[in-house]
């Protein structure tokens, strides 16, 4: 490894947006190992730090499954922060001419998924409020996640007979919910499905133990059992 590539734990902590103590823990557990200087200080490869930040899905999944700390740059504690970062994402997308026909749809789909997290968990966050929101326009990828109550628990309020994640996701993506009492429900995920299946886009959406896969020109809902169970929601949008 090139010595110039190495940075101190303090610098790595700043870039990653996690505390020095967290980095020490991650080193001890092997989750994100450090190099050691001659004097025994922890050093980090800048390249490795960059790669770590690029794997958005792994970061979000880890946050959902293992309840790890996430870099500050991906954490939106409230809806206001999310809206501001959404606008920033749109500004970046707007600089890519090839994405012009899709830009408003990418923004709308991302907004619906993120806003759903806030709307359905308000006052009910089981532990950490807010969402993970990361994007990489060059890789055509957006990742959102929350540690909320999940689709099943949220829909049970209006459809008490639901008892599996698969059934709840099917209702969320396919069925129009009428008779909105006792909770006002939107049709955000129906909109997401419509947009994804009518445009060159893709979606992987997980809640509980079930993963939904959607892509262009395929109106059916492909579902499979996920590798890890998450309580809230995890979504990867590709375009």
């Amino acid at each position: 490894m090139d010595g110039k590539d190495l940075i101190s734990i303090g610098e790595a902590s700043e870039i990653l947006g996690v505390s020095i103590d967290t980095l020490r823990r991650w080193d001890k557990s092997g989750r994100f190992p450090a190099e050691k200087s001659v004097g025994g200080h922890r050093l980090y490869s800048k390249a490795k730090v960059g790669i770590y930040l690029k794997d958005l899905l792994a970061l979000a999944k880890d946050w959902c499954v293992n309840e790890t700390e996430i870099p500050e740059m991906f954490y939106c504690q409230n809806s206001g922060i999310f809206q501001a970062r959404l606008k920033r994402m749109y500004d970046e997308i707007a600089t890519v001419p090839a994405l012009a026909p899709l830009s408003s749809l990418i923004l709308a789909v991302t907004g619906e998924i993120g806003n759903n997290s806030f709307d359905h968990n308000i006052g009910n966050w089981p532990d950490v409020s807010g969402i993970f929101f990361g994007y990489d326009i060059s890789r055509r990828e957006i990742v959102l996640a929350d540690r909320g109550i999940g689709v099943l628990a949220s829909l049970k309020r209006v459809r008490s007979s639901l008892n599996t994640d698969e059934a709840a996701l099917s209702v969320a993506f396919m069925e129009i919910l009428s008779g909105r009492a006792p909770e006002d429900r939107g049709n955000g995920l129906k909109f997401v499905k419509k947009v994804i299946t009518e445009n060159p886009m893709g979606l992987v959406f997980q809640s509980g133990n079930t993963e939904v896969l959607l892509h262009k020109d395929d109106g059916s809902l492909h579902m499979k059992v996920a590798q890890n169970i998450i309580r809230g929601c995890l979504a990867q949008v590709t375009f």
Binding site: S104, L107, A108, D119, G186, V195, E198
Partner: protein, 79 residues
């Protein structure tokens, strides 16, 4: 784009709506809209359509997200 933003917009616009004459058409112009979504629409367009029913018309709906949102809201009978 969010539900609270749509709700806030509708409340802010309510005084104007209260002054509309009985035979006056309601034109919703999407000119200059960057992106539109059902969450915002559910809080603004749906109550608007409920209040004024067939007097509401939409203009400049070419933006793909406006088009997709209106299609969905129409499909589910909300506007």
């Amino acid at each position: 784009m969010s539900r609270p933003a749509g709700r806030e917009a509708f409340l802010a616009f309510s005084p104007v709506l209260n002054e509309i004459k009985e035979d006056e058409p309601i034109l919703v112009d999407f000119e200059g809209v960057v992106a539109f979504s059902p969450s915002w629409g559910a809080e603004f367009l749906v109550p608007l359509a409920k209040k004024f029913s067939n007097r509401v018309a939409f203009l400049n709906t070419e933006n793909p997200s406006v088009k997709a949102t209106l299609e969905l809201l129409k499909e589910i009978g909300e506007v």
